[in-house]
Amino acid sequence: MGIELPCEREADLVRERLLDTRPEIPGIPDEWLSEFLTDGKYVRPRLLFLSYYAAGGEVVGQDVVDAAASIELIHCASLVHDDILDDAETRRGLLSAPLLIGEPLSTLLGDALFTEAFWLGSNLGPQVAQLTREGVQDMIVGEAREMVHDDPDWEPDEAEQVAREKTASLLGTACATGAVLAEADEDIRHRFRRFGVQIGVAFQAVDDVLDVAGDDETGKPMGIDARVGAPNLARALGGDGADEARQIAMERVERAFELLAPIPETEGKKRLLDLAEFVSTRER
């Protein structure tokens, strides 16, 4: 990672929380699970913390840490299940769950992680529950849309829709949850939700560019999307797709910035916008 990601201290609290709540399941090596749960970039928790600060939250209490841990666990659970569907070899530099422990145990592991996530979120009130539900529902709908899509070629707007559902919606949930916990009013919460979604689409567009370009250093085998028939915005755009996808990412970030224009210019907001910009311009 080229830059130091924000909220490292808060991310550490999330790592600790995940290690505390990690399930013990026979046949699943603890060293692997600990690494798997703590090795991610923690984009979702960081977005949640920064949104919390930007929306006026000051002190990060247990509720905010739990919310961030919950959303990261949902992401981890979805990765485990996703790796089963995609027959992926590796994840976060480690052997993927299905390769290491087989598909049946991986299914159980994903279930266990989802359960832990919902348990962590159970004290955060109905608004957070509703946001979480939306994020997970969209993720499932996007995944299913991808599965039933017979044609290996995707139209750009289809690809973007799947990106919005599979990836961006949960990022929107992360941002909106931060705003809810900071006790922002409804209009502001909506803005954060939409902000997260825009950032999420940008994030996925850049991810697609990187997938097409391929880069040993991302730890992501190149062209994996093509192999598993996943929609890829850069590929869907054809020709100079990579440049165009990056252009789309920039536009989404601009739109996201506009959404937060009414929010007071605080240090928290500045750091949130910095992360948003980094996420959508990164080279790896």
Binding site: E35, E89, L94, I101
Partner: protein, 498 residues
């Protein structure tokens, strides 16, 4: 990753691989092979390769620690090596290295723990990791010297693959490494920090933890200042007192390292800081534990000679203080007392680096023990105990695990309050001693460091035991001890000048 590995032209010297059919390999070895090479090879070519080698049809279905016949795996290794490199030997070494990298991704804590300890890493790899993957192997290891080991490669696995494994294991912990063929053996040659190997003087300063010498200098200055204020100062004797105390102090630091090494305390500590966790010269392989012990004995002799001269020319009181000091220094970590393991180390250090040294430095000047000097030593000792407690904070979780129950381990989460108490005692003692006429009033100038004391207490409370964050406050505590002690000494001396 360093470039050195088996050189092609010398490979012929090693007996060729003769796989035996009754050997086995752990299923995880297949999984790692798949994870590392299927993506670049492609799904179908990989499947073909497994079929050709006669390997398991669905690697994913295998439980990771079950064993399967070794021969198909070794076959796959050979086929893969031809696939990924023009020179199959190079391919094999590459497969070996990526194999270890993938293994290490699961054991990052272990690998971090072994940082800069190539010898231990190699032993662990040979004794535990490799035999776990390949249960029938036996890479007989034989240490040549402190940076080389000779291993007998196992005949069931390609030699180049084993060379790659060994190289990657040592490389993982941040050492430069080269594996070469030496007769029918593999020679692993490593060096730690080759480009920035510290010079001997720096190692010495590090081993003795010379930066903590202020702990000795301050009380010697305070005692000497007291004598100076009473109109008698012999600089030679003051120098000898400082030399004796410093030599004994450094010797005790080294002994503590040797003892903690023998009991595994410093080995168990995964969060050393520049101020705690021992000097770690033994753990990092910079000095052997015997050499450290010899150094400790040498310094103790030096301290003893200087101390004996002072005692012979002063009288019984200095001898008594010296013996008590050395005794407490030994009891700090030595058997059977191990005061530091019982939460009494702070008291012992407070006594030695407070009343004892202050009174000793004073006595060698005025020719006898004085109650005033002992009392003036109290605030200095309390500061020392507080400094020690701050330095113990990052070690606390590791000390606790190994049964070293220091003060901060004993009081647990109340540690910041214990430190505040010790610092409070120091300031109260200064005020009380001035009030009762034992200490000259300019010594009140030492109260100027109160804000720094508050800063330290607040900092250690907020750091909540996080080693990274405590470092700044450990440095601040060291400065607090030195500055406050120095102001006391200056205050006393000022009275003598006036």
């Amino acid at each position: 990753m360093s470039s050195g590995w088996l050189r092609g032209e010398t490979l012929a010297a090693v007996p060729s691989t003769r796989p035996r059919t009754d050997r086995s390999v752990r299923a995880l070895a297949w999984k790692i092979l798949l994870a590392n090479h299927r993506p670049s090879l492609g799904l179908d070519p990989w499947d073909q390769l497994v079929v050709t080698a006669g390997g398991p049809s669905d690697v994913k279905r295998l439980s990771l620690d079950e064993t399967v016949p070794a021969e198909p795996w070794t076959q796959a290794l050979g086929l893969l090596a031809e696939e990924i490199a023009e020179d199959p030997e190079q391919g094999l070494a590459r497969i070996g290295r990526s194999f270890v990298d993938r293994w290490a991704s699961m054991y990052t804590t272990l690998v971090e723990h072994l940082e800069s300890r190539p010898r231990r890493m190699l032993e662990l790899a040979v004794d535990e990791v490799v035999p776990w993957f390949f249960p029938d192997t036996d890479l007989a290891i034989e240490h040549v010297d402190d940076h080389r080991a000779r291993l007998r490669p196992d005949r069931s696995l390609p030699v180049a693959f084993q060379a790659g494994l060994l190289e990657a294991f040592v490389d993982q912990i941040g050492a430069e490494v080269e594996v070469t063929v030496d007769g029918d053996r593999l020679l692993v040659d490593w060096s730690v920090d080759a480009h920035e190997r510290p010079n001997p003087l720096a190692v010495l300063a590090e081993a003795t933890r010379a930066r903590f010498l202020t702990a000795t200098i301050v009380p010697v200055l305070v005692g000497t200042a007291l004598a100076f204020a009473q109109a008698s100062l012999d600089t030679l004797r003051a120098g000898a007192a400082l030399g004796a105390a410093a030599a004994l102090h450094l010797s005790a630091n080294l002994l503590n390292d040797v003892y903690d090494h023998r009991r595994g305390v410093d080995e168990a500590n995964l969060t050393p800081t520049p101020f705690s966790g021992g000097s770690r010269v033994i753990q990092r392989g910079l000095l052997g534990s015997r050499r450290v012990l010899a150094l400790a004995v040498g310094l103790a002799v030096l301290g003893g000679v200087l101390g004996s001269w002072l005692a012979a020319t002063t009288g019984g009181s200095v001898l008594g203080l010296g013996v008590l000091g050395v005794g407490l220094g030994y009891a700090y970590s030595g058997d059977p007392f191990r005061l530091s393991h019982r939460g009494l180390g702070e008291l012992a250090a407070g006594l030695v680096f407070g009343p004892l040294i202050v009174a000793g430095a004073h006595a060698v000047q005025v020719g006898g023990l004085s109650a005033q000097a002992l009392l003036v030593g109290v605030p200095v000792g309390a500061l020392m105990a507080a400094l020690l407690a701050v330095n113990e904070l990052p070690d606390a979780p590791w000390d606790e695990r190994t049964g070293k129950r220091t003060l901060v381990v004993r009081v647990g989460e109340h540690a910041p309050w214990a430190i505040a108490g010790l610092l409070g005692l120091a300031y109260l003692a200064i005020v009380g001693l001035v009030g009762s006429g034992w200490l000259a009033w300019p010594a009140l100038g030492a109260l100027a460091t109160l804000p720094l004391a508050v800063h330290v207490v607040r900092g250690v409370r907020e750091a909540e035991g996080e080693a990274d964050e405590l470092v700044a406050y450990q440095a601040a505590a060291l400065g607090l001890h030195a500055t406050t002690g120095l102001l006391v000494a200056v205050g006393i001396a000022a009275r003598g000048v006036a």
